[in-house]
């Protein structure tokens, strides 16, 4: 594994790999969680551990390869870890989730309004 000849794949957390050059913390965070499935993964881990397959189902159309990439990224960033019975949020991950949670209720109203 870790074939360096073809894929860079997993970005290092803390360094703005790609994205905002400013280096502002919020932008570093956005660069990490502002990707497909990242927030969905965190959201789905919030109420208990989930296996890879669980997450695949809950994240609808995420292919196993991207899902795997996202999981590695989030793990490298210290937001999730590999528990015995699947993936789980770390303390940091839970803290982040707490800040994400209010989006849930708001999204309901917003989607409602759009229809």
């Amino acid at each position: 594994m870790a074939d360096k000849s073809s894929k860079p794949d997993v970005p290092q957390p803390g360094k703005p790999v790609r994205g905002s050059k400013t280096g502002q913390p919020i932008m570093v965070l956005f660069d990490l969680i502002g990707r497909r499935w990242s927030m969905g993964i965190l959201w789905n881990l919030s109420d208990g551990n989930r296996t890879f397959r669980d997450l695949q189902e809950r994240c609808g159309s995420a292919s196993p390869s991207v899902l795997n990439t996202r999981l590695k990224e989030l793990r490298a960033a210290g937001l999730i870890y590999n528990a015995e019975n699947g993936y789980a949020l770390t303390e940091d991950g839970r803290e982040l989730f707490v800040r994400l949670e209010p989006l849930g209720d708001w999204a309901m109203d917003w989607v409602e309004k759009l229809r």
Copy 2:
């Protein structure tokens, strides 16, 4: 393969174009804002109107084409609008930002910890 002469480009809000099949509101929202630059744009509009160029600078490496796409998406979703002096948050956009704001302080601590 549909029409080749024009780009689909702008997804319709409210319909999970690509992404989560579940249709859960939060996933619809994540599908919109969980893309490169989306949250950064909202963040940068929070403290006043910004021109296209302003946003380009603040969003570091966003190319004008993606930036334009993101702006169209957010506008279609009713989160931003085209004011006389640049782009601005709508009422909904401001409401969303309020829920995003706590991430800023947390990100500072988090990035600090990572170093």
